[in-house]
């Protein structure tokens, strides 16, 4: 098989095209939301929220409700609850995350284990099944992705200011607490968008890895997002092909490609930008 054939052959399959479109949409929205996420130090939150979506997915199955609805309610609900628990209980954010995310995931396993004779597709929930995505799923995913992207497009300035300097932003009149909650909800929705493509366990990589590459190589926020989006789109495209050629799990392959790009960027990176060393040396 020539290289050209190797590239063109999978495009003959509708399922591959759908998977390609879905994972590019997922990669795009994850890269944009992930860029703010890494700057806010919320990588662990991404992991927590994806696990929290699990009981919603199972409950939706039990109630024969749409998968996206269950996942969205569970993930957004947990996101807001984490913010609320952290504030109310005066706990560190990561403590609140740890408690709620494990609790929600346990609830998911509990519900899952009560399904009689249902061996079902636990593997699909956990690791994604982008090649099995339907037209309806693709539509739902794209609509959700558009909502998230439109919200970020509308509030990019406010999110940037409140991420960089929450005190200064709040004093200047930005509704920082509400922006924090809104951003948590955006992460949750992004995770819902991504669940089918890469699954609960690996979503965090789609969010964090492209943005981390952006952080490594870019010194401005616009460039960070640009790099993240590039990696976020290239990862799924390359990953899907590789998984097709090697007949490997698609979600995992996509994540591996992005991880490889991260490692290359890390090794190739030259002078540190605004690194810890810079901070200390600048005293005058």
């Amino acid at each position: 098989m020539s290289p050209l054939e190797a590239v063109l052959e999978p495009l003959g399959y509708a399922f591959f095209i759908r998977a390609l479109v879905a994972s590019v949409v997922v990669g795009l929205v994850c890269a944009v939301v992930g860029s703010y996420m890494v700057l806010r130090g919320l990588a662990f939150m991404g992991d927590a929220l994806s696990h929290s979506a699990f009981p919603g997915v199972v409950a939706a199955y039990l109630l024969k409700a749409p998968f996206y609805l269950g996942a969205a309610i569970a993930a957004v609900g947990t996101a807001l609850a984490i913010g609320w628990v952290a504030r109310r209980g005066r706990l560190r954010g990561d403590t609140a995350i740890g408690v709620l995310f494990a609790g929600m995931f346990a609830l998911g396993i509990f519900l899952f284990s009560t399904i009689p004779n249902y061996v079902g597709d636990l593997f699909g929930f956990l690791f994604g099944e982008v090649l099995g995505i339907s037209d309806g799923d693709l539509l739902a995913l794209s609509v959700l992705a558009m909502i998230v992207l439109a919200t970020v497009a509308l509030l990019w300035k406010e999110l940037l200011f409140s991420t960089f300097d929450p005190l200064g932003a709040a004093a200047a009149g930005l509704p920082v607490v509400r922006l924090d909650y809104l951003f948590l909800a955006l992460i949750a929705l992004t995770i819902v968008v991504s669940l089918q493509a890469v699954g609960i366990i690996l979503v965090v990589a789609m969010l964090v890895t492209p943005a981390a590459v952006g952080q490594l190589v870019a010194s401005s926020f616009t460039r960070l997002v640009g790099v993240a989006v590039t990696v976020g789109i290239a990862g799924p495209v390359i990953g899907l092909y590789v998984s097709y050629w090697f007949d490997a799990a698609a979600g995992a392959t996509i994540v591996l490609v992005e991880t490889a790009i991260f490692i290359v960027a890390l090794v190739a990176r030259r002078g540190p930008i605004g690194s810890r060393t810079d901070e200390r040396s600048a005293t005058t």
Binding site: A172, S219, T283, T284
Partner: protein, 288 residues
Amino acid sequence: MIAPSGGGALAAGAAATLTGSAVQLRDVTVGYDRRAAIEDVDLSIERGSLVAIFGPNGGGKTTLLKLVAGLLEPWTGSVHVLGGAPAQAARRIAYVPQAEVVDWSFPVSVWDVAMMGRYPRLGPLRQPGASDRDAVREALERVGMAGHARTQIGRLSGGQRRRAFLARAIAADAELYLLDEPVTGVDVPTQEDLMDLLAAESRAGRTVLATTHDLAAASRHFEQVVGVNRRVIAAGPVSLLNDPDVLARTYGGHLLVIGERGVLLDDAHHHDTPSGGERHFHDEDRAR
């Protein structure tokens, strides 16, 4: 510089008594986790003043600043800023956090930081336009950072970093600058430069309120001072810093007065020492 009071900008009634005040605190108590950080604070600051809040670490300087910024709600008493509640005046307030709490590796340039000063007035629907760019350019020129507009903030010196944040306040067209430790950790010539900029802002009618635990800097550069240690110990002209009694009461026992003018703080570099922790020893000493 104390601006003359009067002027009819404010409506009649209760607000009229606030005319001329940039900041007016009445009987305010506030803290964290049910523990009061500052209590029963009464304070009035005229528009156009250049004021240093001094006092021991943990004495409530930053709390006072956050209260004025509207970042903390008073438990009791009232806070009036620029004639209303802090939230109503928010777009005329610029708050500059301590350099220590800023993430200097954040991927923003000096230009970006100054432009953030324009965001609140734009709102979500409008993008920065020509007038915003003009305001940022002018602000950067005023603080002498026009040549560093595109520099990522982590690559700046300590003095340049503070200039970048000052440019944000200027670009925001703020009337009240609240600065947390603006001259801490920079050398004396840099302090002079920064304070010249702040003095110029104050002469232009803007109110500058800054915390500092550097008494030498406070006495060199500010016109008025407020001594804070859980309460407002004293407020008035900078000459208060020559009053050993004011210093002793503000710093509890953490202070040695050497000779007539020299002042040495024994806790200036111990950020984590709670102000109350060791005080009893010195208090007993004094009592005898």
